[in-house]
């Protein structure tokens, strides 16, 4: 009876001790990011018109054009 108990304890200990061996190692390597001008893989309905994914110059132009929407002086008839 005593030996069965000891064996069970040893087996349980072994299972616990080896359980960590199954853990996945976490990759600490930093992933490279895809440039924004390459476009989005998300729903196309959210993508702004006026530029084409992969065209860096068109993307930059699109953002410059969009930034001007924050400039109310471009909306008034006469520039100050």
């Amino acid at each position: 009876m005593m030996s069965k108990c000891t064996t069970a304890c040893v087996l349980c200990g072994a299972v616990l001790a080896l359980s960590a061996c199954g853990e996945k190692t976490e990759g600490a390597a930093k992933k490279s990011d895809v440039p924004a001008y390459q476009g989005s893989t998300g729903p196309s309905a959210f993508v702004a018109n006026g530029w084409k994914a992969g065209d860096q110059a068109a993307w930059e132009q699109q953002l410059r054009h969009r930034a001007q929407a924050q400039n109310e002086y471009t909306r008034t008839p006469t520039q100050p």
Binding site: T41, V47, L63, R66, A67, N71
Partner: protein, 210 residues
Amino acid sequence: MARMKFICDAERCIECNGCVTACKAEHDVPWGVNRRRVVTLNDGLPGERSVSVACMHCSDAPCMAVCPVDCFYRTDDGVVLHDKDVCIGCGYCSYACPFGAPQFPSNGTFGLRGKMDKCTFCAGGPEANGSEAEFEKYGRNRLAEGKLPACAEMCSTKALLGGDGDVVADIFRNRVLVRGKGSEVWGWGTAYGRPATGGPQQAKPEGKKS
């Protein structure tokens, strides 16, 4: 393209917190985490001013310098981003940042500090642009959709400007010139440093002091 920058026009900010709300809604930012917030100076006194503050995507980012696991990186557009798979939530970046940008959700076991979260300039993270995995960790990637940050684009008074640093600086400079004031509380020099203090060389708005 120049570097992506934010600048807040303190003369125009009315402390509506629309930028904060837009950011939280756009990226499903959890409770307790504020990627952007509005800071009010001299609250209730004459001359009260408000400034919308978030990560300023510094050219020489202190968070990047102190991170022990080097989880930060800078995109070609000058946006400072981080990899949440590498972040260990130590909080060093939080102590280093002069703007209080890094945020930590306290939703782990025993109130454990989670992975750092901060403004991404709506540029997502290292996952595929616009992917669900990217959204879950970092929120929407508006830059990859040809858009500018939601906070700046929906600002009702156009106090918060965001985009290409050259364009944004031009818009702000023009305003200061027209009204003859307005860069004293929070100008380009305050936000990004003056040339004498090691900041990037920027054209200083010529305006009459108020």
